[in-house]
Structure formats: C-alpha cells, structure tokens
C-alpha cells in the first residue's frame, strides 16, 4: 500500500510539472517561465548559496511564528474547549482574526511594532493561530461523552481525563488544524516579506521580478512550496508515531 501511494504522488507531480513545462513553452505569458528554466535557476541559486542566505532570513519569523502558534494555539484551544468561560472570552477574537483581511492589518502592525522581526512573527501567527485554536477547541468539545464517562468510572482524575482521553481523542482534528495552520504560516512568512520589508525569499521574488528574471522568481516560489510540502509530510509522520491506533476509522459495531 505505501508503495502505491508513493507512486501516485510521483505521478501527480509528473503531471503537474509536465503541465507547467507545456504552459511555459506555449507560452501562457511572457512572464511565465518553463519548469526546466525555473529548475535551472533553482540549481544556480543553490550552487552560489543565495537560496541559503535567503532562507536564513525567512525561516526566522517562520519558525518562531509557527512554534508560538502551535504551542499557544493548542493550549488556548484546549482551554477554550474545556471551559465555557474561555470560549466566551477568546472564540470571537480568533474568529475575527481568521476572517480579517491580513493585508489591511499589516500597516497597523508596522505602525505598532516597526518593520523588524516582531511584525513578521505576528503576521505568521495571525495566519497560523486561528485555525489551530478553532480546530483544537471544537475537537475537545466533541470528545465522545462515553469515553469521558468511562474515564470517570475508572477513577481518572480531571487531569488524567484531559491527558489520557481528551487530547488523544482530539488529536486527529488537532493535527488537521496544525496542517492548515502551518501552511497558512508559510503564506504569512512570504506575505510579510513582500509587504513589510523585502528580505529573504521575499526579497528574491521582489528583486528578480523587478529585473524581469522570471525563472529565479518562480524558483523561489517553488522552493517555498517544496519546503511546506516536506514539512507537512514530517508532521504526518509525527502524528503516526504519536497516535498509532487513531489512523484507521473506528466503528463501534
């Protein structure tokens, strides 16, 4: 089975890149390079180290922001899911955050926190955190009553019920939220580099566009997507290791 799913992944990648190559050769637009040109640019940037210095910049707000969103997002989500009061207090904030047009908020952030790392981290958090919080809290709220009841019947303390029943039961939905949140965090990191100050990968995109070096621009975009996909795969592996039995559906009769 895993072999077959790997095969399907490779197949869909080949189709996608093939379509890209053809669209580039037609060409769809003079600003749209072929797949091979973009890859050549990526190899060149890797060889001369540009891409590494760029990522050294981009990864800073990304990693800090994603880490904060994961830890804080899950913690707040648990709280909100467990207590009516916190639900009332926090839920509206995250619903507004998720709906807010981020581009409109960036000037406000810059005004308040300047153009440094803080603003960029905040952009990543605003993108990543709401979906993590909202998924976690709804998963916690939807823990099957019968499992919690079983816990109480066998004398589990409140803490044990949270740690040994609610969190594992909620984990598939929490991880789904993490996947969505982290993808949004990647978008946030690039967005902040495009809208606040051009640094890192955002700088490559902005600069190569201004000098019409489209292959480099697409190479940079491709690299960030690749990184995101790799990261999400890693997350999936972590989930499998942590919660083995949750993988397959559980039918009770």
């Amino acid at each position: 089975m895993p072999n077959r799913s790997l095969l399907l992944k490779i197949l869909s990648a080949v189709i996608l890149f093939g379509a890209w190559e053809i669209a580039g050769r037609v060409p769809v637009s003079f600003a749209f390079p072929t797949f091979l040109e973009s890859m050549a640019a990526l190899v060149r940037m890797t060889a001369d180290g540009t891409i590494f210095t760029a990522y050294a910049e981009t990864l800073k707000p990304l990693i800090v922001g994603v880490a904060i969103s994961t830890v804080l997002g899950i913690a707040i989500g648990l709280w909100v899911g467990l207590s009516q009061f916190f639900d009332w207090l926090f839920s509206p904030i995250f619903i507004v955050m998720q709906a807010a047009p981020l581009a409109a908020l960036i000037p406000l952030l810059v005004l308040a926190y300047g153009i440094g790392l803080t603003s960029k981290v905040l952009v990543v958090c605003i993108m990543a955190m709401p979906v993590i919080v909202l998924n976690t809290s709804s998963a916690v709220r939807n823990t099957p009553e019968s499992m919690k009841e079983m816990g109480r019947a066998f004398l589990a303390s409140d803490t044990a019920i949270v740690l040994k029943i609610i969190i594992p039961a909620a984990s598939p939905v929490i991880f789904a939220g993490l996947r969505l949140g982290i993808s949004a965090g990647f978008i946030g990191a690039i967005l902040s580099e495009l809208k606040i100050t051009p640094t890192g990968v955002g700088d490559i995109i902005t600069y190569s566009r201004s000098i019409a070096d489209y292959p480099s621009m697409y190479a940079a975009i491709f690299s960030i997507i690749l990184l995101a996909v790799l990261f999400l795969n890693l997350l999936e592996k972590i989930e499998v290791v942590l919660f083995k039995g949750n993988q397959r559906g559980y039918v009770s009769d």
Binding site: M147, A153, F154, L155, I165
Partner: protein, 268 residues
C-alpha cells in the same frame, strides 16, 4: 425505605436473610421532559447476582449509571456498603453497553486502564491485565487495537477491564450482548462460578429472559418508562443442581414462562 411495590413482590422470598451491598432508595431520574425512572427502590444482596430485565429504553442503563455515580438522580439516593454514593468509587466497576474503549490504545492498555488510573505500576498492572485478557479468551491480541477486533472481542476487552480492578460491586450493562452463542454460554457458566467463588455483588442488565434466569439469584423486572420495579423473582431450587442441569429444570422453565407472561403485555 422499601416501597410497597417491592414489599408485595418480596412476598415470594424472605428478604430478611440477605444483607444488602447496594440499596437504591426512591430513585427518580428525569432527562429534561423525559421521565426515565420514577420512585424506584431495589435492594441488591451482597455476594449475589441481580438481573435487571425490562423493555428497551426503560431506564436500566440509567439506573446502573446512577449506582456507579456517573449520573446524579433527580431524587432519591443510592447506598453502597452503607455509604451514600456521591460519585464513582473504587468499590464499583462498570462494563459499558457501548464498550467505551480507547481506539488509540492497545487491548493491553485498554484493559489496564483502570489499574493505571489507580496508580498501579506498569509491570504489575500488565501482569494483572494479561491474566484477565486470557480469562476472556483474548490471549494473543494484547497488542491489537480495537479497530482490529470484532464487536464481540471488543466487548470482552471491556469485560476484562472491569474485572481487572477487583471491585466489590460489578455493574454490567448487557455484557454478553455482542458475543457469539457458544462464548455467551461459556461466559454465563464462568459468571456463575465467579459469583459462587468470590464474594462480589453483581448487577447485570440483559435482554434475554433465559440468560437472566440462568445466571441470577434475583431478577428485577422493570416497567416501561417511567420505570419502577414491577416484580422481583428469586429462583431458589435449581441453583444447587449443577450448571449442566439448570436448563432442564422445571422451575427454570416455569420462571422463564412466568417472566415472559408478565413482559408480553408491554410488547403488545
């Protein structure tokens, strides 16, 4: 105090001979507008098995959960060994009608869950759990997950979990409903042996009249919602005649008929 409904029914037995391990007194339970139990009183003699028999939805699970301390009654109180129940306690263990297993935990961890919550060390609790896993016939499945088991096997995991905590009172909500007929008969015999050899009190919910008569020292028949005890039957003579002869015993057959006669009016 014992209500007139049970007094009348106790007429056929001598209640004074038995000390109660569990007493339910004037229990009422409403779920919003639904009245599940109304003024139900019942004594559960120590060291014996009491069956609750009644139509679906009449409140058997509700009564069991009130005794377990998982639900608060709207009125009335439950005493276990002379103490009023305010919540779950180490003196009671529950076998759930819907099994309530943890899907991410292996059979071993599920069975050992109660011991884990009681703070028993890992190696010790796994030893105890392994014993009960073997007892319910699941040896070799210790490291399987619930989704890899059949319905009947899952039910046995729930049974082993309740047995492993060694509680004085076992609350069993249709514990054999999903196992096959052969296993069911074996479990019924095992249960009889358990009742005989251990001084535990069993409260047993079932839909099967034959099963109730076969395993019980006392059978309480519940009326449909709002539920109260309509009749208490104490099979007396055939228990001592040996496991193999019970199903042929005239008294056994009479009681089965008698219960069916009182229940059929609710089916029609």
């Amino acid at each position: 105090m014992v209500m007139s409904q049970t007094k009348a029914a106790f007429g056929q037995a001598e209640p004074a001979d038995y000390e109660s391990a569990v007493s339910a007194r004037n229990i009422s339970k409403n779920y919003g507008a639904v009245e599940a139990l109304r003024d139900l009183s019942l004594e559960f003699p120590r060291g014996q098995l009491t069956s609750l028999l009644g139509p679906s939805g009449c409140g058997k699970t509700t009564l069991l959960k009130i005794i377990a301390g998982l639900l608060q009654p709207s009125a009335g109180e439950v005493e276990v060994n002379g103490h009023t129940v305010t919540g779950p306690g180490p003196d009671r263990a529950f076998v759930f009608q819907d099994f309530a297993l943890l899907p991410w935990a292996t059979v071993m961890r599920n069975v050992a869950f109660g011991l884990e919550m009681r703070g028993v060390a890992k190696s010790e609790r796994e030893g105890i759990a392994a014993k009960y896993i073997a007892e319910v016939g699941l040896s070799g499945f210790e490291h399987s997950y619930p989704h890899e088991l059949s319905g009947g096997m899952r039910q046995r995991v729930g049974l082993a979990r309740a047995l492993s905590v060694d509680a004085q009172v076992l609350l069993m909500d249709e514990p054999f409903s999903a196992v096959d007929e052969q296993t069911r008969r074996k479990f019924q015999e095992d249960l009889l042996a358990l009742v005989q050899h251990e001084n535990k009190t069993f409260i047993f919910v079932t839909h099967s009249i034959e099963e109730a008569v076969y395993v019980s020292d006392q059978i309480a028949i519940l009326l449909p919602r709002p539920s109260r005890v309509s009749e208490i039957i104490r099979p007396s003579s055939f228990r001592s005649k040996g496991v193999d002869n019970i199903r042929r015993d005239p008294e056994y057959l009479d009681i089965v008929d008698q219960i069916w006669a009182s229940l059929r009016s609710y089916v029609e």
